[in-house]
Amino acid sequence: VIYVYGIGEREPADASVESIRHDGLVAYVRRDVEAAPEPTPDELWRHEKTLAQLMEDGAVLPMRFGTVLEDDDALRAVLEARRNTLRRSLALVRGRVEMGVRAQWPEPGSRGDASSGREFMVAKLERQRRARRLAGIADASLGTLSERRVCSLLPRAGTAFAASYLVDRTRIGEFRARASAVRARVHEADVVCTGPWAPYSFSEAGE
């Protein structure tokens, strides 16, 4: 089988990554696997670091971790079937990176002290309200710097929101500075800015 890191437009400069070309699209692959790798931290970082390297040379759409295909023909068939969507997505992410912003509350989300179903619901609604407010504060500052954004409220206990912004490479510094300002302004939660990432959250432009 072949493991697929991502899809772009140019031959990789990195000799350790192989490529399969089809009709102007280039898939970045690895052939030394017999099955999808397990999602260990090392393998996850390898996937991400390989993509970060590839992104230095041009637009890349990252594959979801663990994507393997039977052979080159199977991969070419995918590139052929989805070439229009893939090209649209590549045009969207060209020259841009994904930046992450999330807010962590200091205490665990559920304290287990709600004595009734009603209190539980009230507490849950209150968390949603606070999360929406925090996401709004961040977005008011960061949204104008980005081409697109996605945000998930309360993705897990303790996290108010996790957002991803598609940002021009030239504006990464500005984005980080604004994220720091948001962090300084928000006291009830720890606002964390990560990236640049490959555009995982913006790989399906058709949606």
Binding site: I7, L44, P62, M63, T67, G100, Y200
Partner: protein, 60 residues
């Protein structure tokens, strides 16, 4: 910068998991993880997220 990345590497594992396992191009009909492996993935993830939470609490 690399120092900072190393420092925050454990914490950003959560961000990494969100993106690598929840985002990216999904190919319908590919050979993804076998059913048995999916359980393994979820178990590994729970362990990872738990250890990240512990680290985050410890560093506070």
């Amino acid at each position: 910068v690399s120092d900072t990345l190393a420092q925050h590497q454990e914490v950003t594992l959560v961000d990494l998991l969100d993106r690598l396992l929840g985002g990216g191009v999904v190919i319908a009909g590919d050979i993804t993880l076998a059913v048995a492996d999916i359980d393994l993935v979820q178990v590994s993830l729970r362990a990872l997220v738990a250890s990240v939470d512990t680290l985050a609490e410890g560093s506070g």
